[in-house]
C-alpha cells in the first residue's frame, strides 16, 4: 500500500457519509459487516473498467469514475434489487488521477444512495476501477436470465444504440456531439428494475454488450429462442432518435450498440397492458428452439450477431 494513496483514499471515503441501516461495521476496519433484514436476500456483482478499454484515454476521469459505479449498479437493476453498498478497488497511476476518479465515484455513491462499505486503493500503471456492488431483495424474487417461457413476449425498457453512437462521436473528435452524453452518463434503471420485480417479472437482464448478443444469453439460459421483430425495434424512442440524424446506422446501432444499460425482460401476454403503462416496449417473442432470430415482416433475416467489443 502506498501511504500517500492511503491518506487520500481515507479523505475521499470520508466524503461518502451514507451508512446503510444494515451496516454493523463500516469502512475502516479489516472488513465491513452487515445484517440482512428478515425475509431478504443479498445480491452481489463485480464490474471492472480499464482506461483505454472501457473508456477513451482522453475522457475526464471523474466521468469514468461515475460510469464505473453506475455500470456496476445496473446489474442490481437487472435482478430487481435495491442497491445498498459498494466495495471499491481503485488502481491509479498517480494521486491526481486517483482524486479525479474518486470525485466521480463519490458523486455516484451519493446519487444512487449507496454506502462505500470498503475498498482498496493501489498504485497501477493503468488507471482501473473494479466495483463490487451489493443490494437487497425479498427472498426468492430475484429476476434471472433462465426464467423465460415459450410464448412470453420479449420486452425492453430503456435505450439502445445511443451510447455506442456517443462513443463514436467522441472518438471521431466531435467532443460536443449530441450523443456524447449518452456514452458519458450511464443511468442504471434501478427504479424500473424494482418495479418490474414487483410486477412479478421473473426473467430480466441488462444490456451491456448489445441487444443481439445479450438476448442470446437469455435464450441459452432459458433453453429457448428469442425472435426479435425489426418493426417493433423501429418503434423504440431511441431508434427514432437515431433515425432522425443517423438513418443508415440506426438499425445496426440498435442491434449491436452496448452500454445503454436498458433492461431486456420477458413476460406472459397477460401482463402486456401493465408493462406498456410502465414505458416498456415489446420487441419480440420467446419460441421453441435456440438462439436469437431477427425477423422483418415475419421473415427471418440474416444478421451479423456481433456484440459491442470495447473499442474493438
Amino acid at each position: 500500500m502506498n501511504h500517500e494513496f492511503n491518506a487520500i483514499s481515507q479523505l475521499f471515503q470520508q466524503r461518502v457519509l451514507l451508512k446503510h441501516p444494515s451496516t454493523q461495521i463500516a469502512n475502516g476496519d479489516d472488513a465491513s459487516v452487515h445484517q440482512v433484514p428478515h425475509g431478504m436476500e443479498f445480491v452481489m456483482s463485480t464490474d471492472t473498467a480499464v482506461l483505454g478499454v472501457h473508456w477513451p484515454e482522453d475522457m475526464p476521469l471523474h466521468i469514468a469514475g461515475h460510469r464505473a459505479v453506475a455500470a456496476a449498479l445496473s446489474d442490481l437493476a437487472a435482478m430487481g434489487a435495491k442497491p445498498a453498498w459498494i466495495w471499491l478497488a481503485i488502481m491509479a497511476k498517480d494521486i491526481n488521477d486517483l482524486e479525479a476518479m474518486s470525485h466521480g465515484i463519490v458523486e455516484a455513491c451519493l446519487a444512487y444512495d449507496v454506502e462505500l462499505a470498503g475498498g482498496d486503493t493501489v498504485y497501477s500503471p493503468t488507471n482501473t476501477m473494479s466495483v463490487t456492488v451489493g443490494g437487497l431483495i425479498p427472498q426468492g424474487c430475484a429476476m434471472t436470465r433462465n426464467a423465460a417461457k415459450i410464448d412470453d413476449e420479449v420486452w425492453l425498457v430503456g435505450n439502445l444504440g445511443l451510447s455506442a453512437l456517443g462513443l463514436k462521436q467522441w472518438q471521431d473528435g466531435t467532443k460536443d456531439g449530441a450523443f456524447v452524453p449518452c456514452f458519458q452518463h450511464i443511468e442504471p434503471l434501478l427504479e424500473k428494475g424494482i418495479t418490474l420485480r414487483k410486477e412479478g417479472i421473473q426473467c430480466c437482464m441488462d444490456i451491456s454488450d448489445g441487444l443481439l448478443q445479450d438476448a442470446g444469453h437469455i435464450a441459452k439460459a432459458s433453453n429457448l429462442a428469442l425472435s426479435i421483430h425489426i418493426e417493433q425495434l423501429q418503434q423504440l424512442p431511441s431508434y427514432l432518435r437515431l433515425e432522425s440524424t443517423h438513418k443508415n446506422q440506426a438499425l445496426t446501432l440498435t442491434l449491436n450498440g452496448g452500454e445503454d444499460y436498458a433492461l431486456l425482460f420477458t413476460a406472459p401476454a397477460s401482463q402486456h397492458l401493465a408493462l406498456q403503462k410502465l414505458g416498456a416496449y415489446t420487441i419480440g417473442v420467446c419460441t421453441k428452439g435456440s438462439g436469437v432470430q431477427l425477423l422483418h415482416h415475419n421473415k427471418e433475416i440474416e444478421y451479423n450477431i456481433k456484440g459491442y467489443d470495447h473499442f474493438g
Copy 2:
C-alpha cells in the same frame, strides 16, 4: 468484454464447483444472490494485487493468483469470519496470463473452500486481480480494531518478517532462498481467527503492512497506546528463525516486514493461559496514550516506524 476472455473465464469458473449452501443464484447471472442464515451477519472485504507492485514481474502468475485470494481471505480471518464466497475481477494482458492467474485462483478457492460467486474478466495492459471476499459470522461477534482496552495484553499469532525476507531473496536473485516460499505462499489464519473469536477476543487485525504500522491502526482506532516489548518479540518462533541466519536484520524484519498475515489482537490478562495454549505469543500491553511505543527492558527506544511499502 473481450469475447475470447469471456469464454476462458467461463471455462475456469466451471472448475470451481463449490457452491455455498447460502447461495440462491450462483455465478453466471447478472449478479449472485445469497441468504444469510438466521442469527448470522455477512462480512465483506476487497483486496487488489497488481503485477510489479504486489508481486515481482518474474514470479509465476499462478502463484500470484493464489496469493491474491489468500491475502484477501486474511481480512476475514482478522474479523473471525468463516469465508464463503469470492467475487473476482481479473485484468489480464493476454489469454496465457489469464489462464495462469486463474489456475492459482481456482486452486485457492478449492483450498479454502470458497465459492467463486461472480466476477469480471477484462483486458488490461497490467495484470491485476481484485478479489472481494465474503463470509459469515454470528451476529455481533466480529473482531474489530477499535475494541482494545487499557491493560489488555497485546498478542500475536503467526509469523513476522519471513515474507519480507523471502521477497528480498527473490529480488536479489536467490530464487531458491529458504524464505522465498514464505513470500510466495500466503496462509490466511482462518481457523485461528475463528478460534480467537470463539474465545471471546474482541480486538483483532491482520498484519499486512508490518507490525509497527498495523499496531498503530489498533492504537488509533481504540484511542490508546500499544507498548511492544522487544524481549517478547525475540521469543517469537519467526524471530528465532530469522536470527539463526540473518541476525542483523531479524529485528527490523520483525518490526516492519509485511505480508506474513499474522493476527495481532488484544485480550485481558485473565485470558493469558488460554491464549498461550492456542500458540499465541504476548508481545506487549495496551496503555493510556496514543501510538506505538517500542520498549527494550522497559526503556522506550527510538525506532523508525515505517511499514512495508511494496517494492519501495
